[in-house]
Structure formats: structure tokens, C-alpha cells
Symmetry: C2
Subunit: 178 residues, 2 copies
DNA sequence: TCCAACTATGCAACCAGTTGCAAAACTGTA
DNA sequence: TACAGTTTTGCAACTGGTTGCATAGTTGGA
């Protein structure tokens, strides 16, 4: 049940409404744990029922239905318990590699344009990560522990995208010969 | 619906029973597209109903229920159609990074032993991939197109594991200071 | 001969993630 | 004022992956 814990983390960083949470999520934790707004609303409902969070009408909401969610002590404890658990390794799970293996047995199907497209998408993501890095993690005298960890997490994304770019370059070489 | 196509690929490489398929899967396509035996049996049933594969009692089965599955022309065509489609990028989705971010907001929880454990598991996987590489892709004069692609796919796994090892080394440095 | 382990298949229930749709209020503009 | 677009929330149905369990035959050893 990772999504609940991802939401607890995000709400501890900053209490907010489901909608704001969903948008903030896309730009932070969403880089390595994606969720749709549907999932988020459903999960917030469950978490409130479980007593991990509570909600109140947003003070600036006027007559809208907007509600702000806050983490309760029980939620905080649950998050600590969970964070200290051992987690299974995240295995590589890539549908495109299945397609490539299909091509190996029934091909050639000319995967080159698709390889190039995918390489470009990875390069685009990498560029976006580098932009975040330049903006949020400029070299400075004394970064906090939290900032050091956030930077580290971002670097996982950078490493991941760079790895794919290297690999796609090799793939283009191998499959470009057909 | 990737699993069906992964199974079609595997059955084209070699017709076999659900059980054998499941075991072979673990050692080939399973490296980048995991599936339990339950999923595989269910999917084989669907594919047979869809006319993509057919089955016959295994000739060497004796009185067991063992059945061999074979890809039909419709299955082959479906696989070609699917393999040529554009696939969405596989995004990084790593529960441990969520835990790390949780640690950043409520910690420190001493993630060092878990970091070390995970690094070791990645190193173990990398070692296994290198063993496969040495066994199946020894440098030779004229590798077939299929072998070149299989090697390329394996290299994606190698790249992936190496990337994580580099990252965990850095993570141990950053979190080791606490 | 009996039992444990392995081969081989499958049902049922559940959980998480996805998709399509829509309600209800607000905001800006033609 | 009417309409399009955005904010905010949510229902319902579906798909795919997970877990626990069951069945039935085979094999090898105590």
C-alpha cells in the first residue's frame, strides 16, 4: 500500500486539498510513484476512515467543496513504521523490451523510428530533471538533510534516464544495420 | 495487454505447456516482464478462446493433464500488429524512493542497512546477468540478428542494475553521515 | 508401502490501477 | 448574459496482478 504512504509524506511536507495534492504530486513524488486524481481521492477517503488523516473545509474555499487534509499522529506513526520496513527490489518491467523480443522472433519490423522517438522522450525527461536540479539544488554552503535526500532522489531519476539514453544509442546502432 | 504478447513471443520461440512456459519465462522474458503461474494459465485460456493459440495433449504426458500450446496464424498477426505499435515510456516507479522521502520528512530512521541490503541484491542480479552474458553471448564471428537483439535486451538489464549500484553507493555516502 | 516433494493445472477472492463520465461551483471573456 | 474553460470532487465499471488454496498425478527414498 505505497500510495497511501506517498500521500502521507506529501501531506506532512504540506497539508493540502486533494486537488492541490494531485498537482503537487505530479511534480515531486509523482516522478517515481505515479497516481491519477481518482486514485488519490479514493485513497484520501480510506485514510480518513482509518484515522490517519483528517479533513476540514478549506478556509479560502468560499462555497466550493474544497477540503484540506492534515496528517494525524496515527498517520505519522504508520508512516514511520512503514518507512522502516524492508521493501522488495523494484524490478525492471518494460513493455518495449517485450516488443523488441517479439521483433527478434517475427521481425524485422523496423523499430528504428520508435527507438529514436523513445530516446528523445528520455532525453526530454533528463533535461527536465536537470532543470529542477539547477533550480532547487544549486551548490550552496550547508544544505539541510532533507535537501540532501531530495537531491539524492532526483539523482536516481537522472541516473535512470541517462542509462536509457546510453542504451538506446546502442540499440540504434544494433538495429540500424537492418 | 502485454502479458499475452509476451507469451506469444515465448511460444513462437518454443511451443510448450503452461508449466514449462512459466519456468522458461522466469529465465528469459521474466527478467523484464514478470508473471506468476496463475496469470500465465489465465492468459493462456483467454488466448485460446481468442483463437491466437491452440493446445493439444502433450505426447509425452502419459496420464497427466499436461497440454502443449502452439501459436496460430491469428496469434502471429496479432503479435506483429502489437509489436509495431508505439508504447508509452516505462516510468521509474520505485517504492523505496518513497520511503526515502518519508525518511527525509520524519527521519532520520537509519536507512543504511536497507541501502546496503538493496545494493547487494542489485549486485547479485548484475552478477547473474553477466553469467548469462558470458554463457550465451561469447564473442563470436557472426551472431544472428536474433542473438544480437537478445544480447541487446540483456544489456538493458545490465545497464539498469549498474545504474542502481552507482546510485546506492552515492546514497550510502549521503546517508552514512547521520 | 507410505510419505514427502515435485509436476501440472486451476478456482475464487481480493486489491490496485485505469478509464470514462459527470456534477457543481468558479472565472474570464465575447 | 451566455458560454467556454478551470477547479474540485466523485461514481462506476473494468483490467491486470496477487494470494491462498485445491486437485491430481509422478517420482524417489525411508
Amino acid at each position: 500500500m505505497s500510495l497511501a504512504h506517498a500521500l502521507l509524506t506529501s501531506l506532512l511536507e504540506q497539508p493540502s486539498s486533494g486537488y492541490d495534492l494531485a498537482r503537487r504530486f505530479d511534480k515531486s513524488i509523482g516522478h517515481f510513484w505515479q497516481a491519477t486524481h481518482q486514485q488519490i481521492y479514493r485513497e484520501l477517503g480510506r485514510m480518513e476512515k482509518a484515522g490517519w488523516i483528517r479533513s476540514e473545509p478549506d478556509p479560502e474555499a468560499g462555497r466550493t467543496r474544497k477540503r484540506t487534509y492534515l496528517v494525524l499522529p496515527a498517520g505519522r506513526e504508520e508512516l514511520m513504521r512503514w518507512a522502516a520496513e524492508a521493501a522488495p527490489l523494484t524490478e525492471l518491467r518494460d513493455e518495449f523490451l517485450v516488443r523488441l523480443r517479439a521483433d527478434a522472433v517475427i521481425g524485422p519490423l523496423d523499430m528504428v523510428p520508435e527507438l529514436a522517438r523513445r530516446r528523445a522522450l528520455h532525453a526530454e525527461k533528463l533535461r527536465a530533471y536537470h532543470a529542477i536540479e539547477a533550480r532547487d539544488f544549486a551548490p550552496e554552503a550547508e544544505p539541510t538533510r532533507q535537501r540532501r535526500i531530495h537531491h539524492l532522489i532526483l539523482k536516481a531519476g537522472i541516473q535512470y534516464e541517462q542509462g536509457w539514453i546510453v542504451w538506446y544509442d546502442e540499440a540504434l546502432q544494433v538495429l540500424g544495420k537492418d
